[in-house]
Symmetry: C2
Subunit: 321 residues, 2 copies
């Protein structure tokens, strides 16, 4: 069977290998992605972002459980170097994860965040496609967030959850600086800690001051208690899961889902253009030794990067540009 | 006077305007950068990275002071959305910063982290060039770090300082996941807090296990106490300042400075190529409406991003590629 069809049929080995190939930028992966593209677009993609230590992985684990109870299949993609999914796991985390290992309705993979920024961004999008093509109902993408990465996630997710914990004063600063705009749902995690009420009030005050988003969605604030009290935790996760579902229904009923899809598509096309336009030129410059010669010129201050790049453009781009 | 010369002569207004133009991607800024490029390459560029709340700004402030006492001129570039330099300032922070406002030997500017990743990265490099051309002896670049941004900073800095604070258990995870490789100096900040000794021991253990870097530099660990005890704090900052100086001397004496320059230059050329090769093609696609038509096709699943991007490459790249 052709690999695209295998993945559509839910073949875990084929899907795992493709995600590894995507991560390692194996050229053949590109062709496989072409084949699975028609099968994509059905899953709800949920981004979960927040500082290291905010407890994102525990939430993801809870959400996996909650979705499985409703018979929804789940994909988990961890793009967080501190995530237990990715490797920085404590023993307790690992044991918790283990529960899902035998469940064919759950597919968990991680992507390393090293290497080029653009490359990672493209890999995240492609890995989501793989899980989507496998037919997962919901895909949870866990990214660590302070700055740019969590802004990237809006290019892929239908719903973005920003996870905060009490007692990290700088959270609010970070929110002011840009996370505010991307959150569809706020989670105040570890809400039994001191300062949870204050954090919640600050968030509400900020939401009150913010302009109402297109379509009138006001990000709800969900508080999640201690995961060592399983019953309460499960209840809280149930509420979060309901909010996620509501947000998707809101996107569909308000027709905003079209805007999000367009944004996702535009971003993806942009990444593809980078790899088909810029990369061949770079490869050419490397293989002919031209790149080295340019670097020497720059080190001697005989030219500047912008002038050299313009020369390259004149040489390799069609005259019409 | 021509603007490049003005900046070289230390004209603060011209430099400030150029940095704003760089940030806003004003096309003319590109030409000015060409003119100042020959005047660059003299400053020591020091990257300071760490989580929000790690106290980076207080360190930067202390380093400004320490350098001014030795009559060295200083540039500060804040690329951190939570930095007091950038706007997320408490009143105390602002008052502290204010001291330097009247000192012509100090030039402080910030860059917003919103917008495209590539754009920001290029802006950081160009803003460093401006401060370098102004003749600043040392340029301190403050970036928030969890993931990719602090890996970016190695493309610009001679010396990278990773700032950690006790009591954030996930720090060590983050280090394991990639910061370790980029740190030239570790700072254990707020070292009067509980857990400082433990953090220091863990760092040392990790350094013991790490392969010795090229040239034999072992990143020193500098502990910095409470900034509310000015005398001790000043002493600690003095030690940090000495380590920064030593690292630069090490780079020069071991001839590793050449490698770092080459890496910086290569990165910069890469960014310039992106803007001269990829951007004209994107502009063409937008102005002809071709981009919109491609997005529609993708939304209807009539094609996939990779195939469309390859068509564009065949159309706009010279046949030789």
């Amino acid at each position: 069977m052709e690999i695209g069809k295998k993945i559509k049929a839910g073949d875990i080995r084929a899907a795992s290998r493709l995600i590894r190939d995507i991560e390692d930028s194996i050229p053949e992966a590109k062709f496989t992605i072409k084949h699975i593209f028609p099968y994509t677009g059905k899953a709800q993609v949920v981004g979960i972002t927040g500082s290291p230590g905010a407890g994102k992985s525990t939430l993801v684990d809870g959400l996996v459980e909650a979705n499985r109870k409703r018979n929804r299949t789940v994909g988990v993609l961890a793009v967080d170097p501190t995530s237990p999914f990715t490797g920085g796991a404590t023993l307790g985390d690992r044991i918790r994860m283990q529960r899902h290992a035998e469940d064919p309705g759950v597919f968990i993979r991680s992507l390393a965040t090293r290497g080029s920024l653009g490359g990672l961004s493209k890999a995240v999008g492609d890995a989501i496609h793989v899980m989507d093509a496998m037919g997962k109902d919901i895909i949870l993408v866990e990214t660590v967030g302070t700055g740019q990465q969590e802004v990237e996630i809006i290019n892929y997710a239908h719903t973005v959850i920003v996870v905060l914990v009490p007692g990290m004063g700088d959270e609010i600063q970070a929110i002011k600086a840009g996370i505010m705009e991307i959150a569809d749902i706020f989670v105040v995690n570890k809400s039994d800690r001191e300062g949870a009420g204050k954090l919640q009030r600050e968030l509400m005050a900020m939401l009150d001051m913010s302009p109402v988003a297109a379509g009138g969605w006001r990000p709800p604030i969900v508080t999640i208690g201690n995961s060592f009290k399983p019953e309460e935790f499960e209840q809280d996760i149930g509420k979060l899961s309901a909010r996620i579902h509501e947000h998707y229904e809101f996107l569909v009923s308000s027709d905003l889902i079209g805007d999000r899809l367009r944004r996702k598509t535009m971003h993806e096309l942009n990444e593809a253009l980078r790899s088909s336009i810029l990369e061949p030129v770079l490869n050419m410059l490397v293989s002919t030794g031209e790149l080295d010669r340019m670097v020497e010129k720059l080190l001697k201050k005989e030219s500047d990067p912008c002038s050299l790049a313009e020369e390259v453009a004149r040489k390799y781009l069609q005259e019409c540009i």
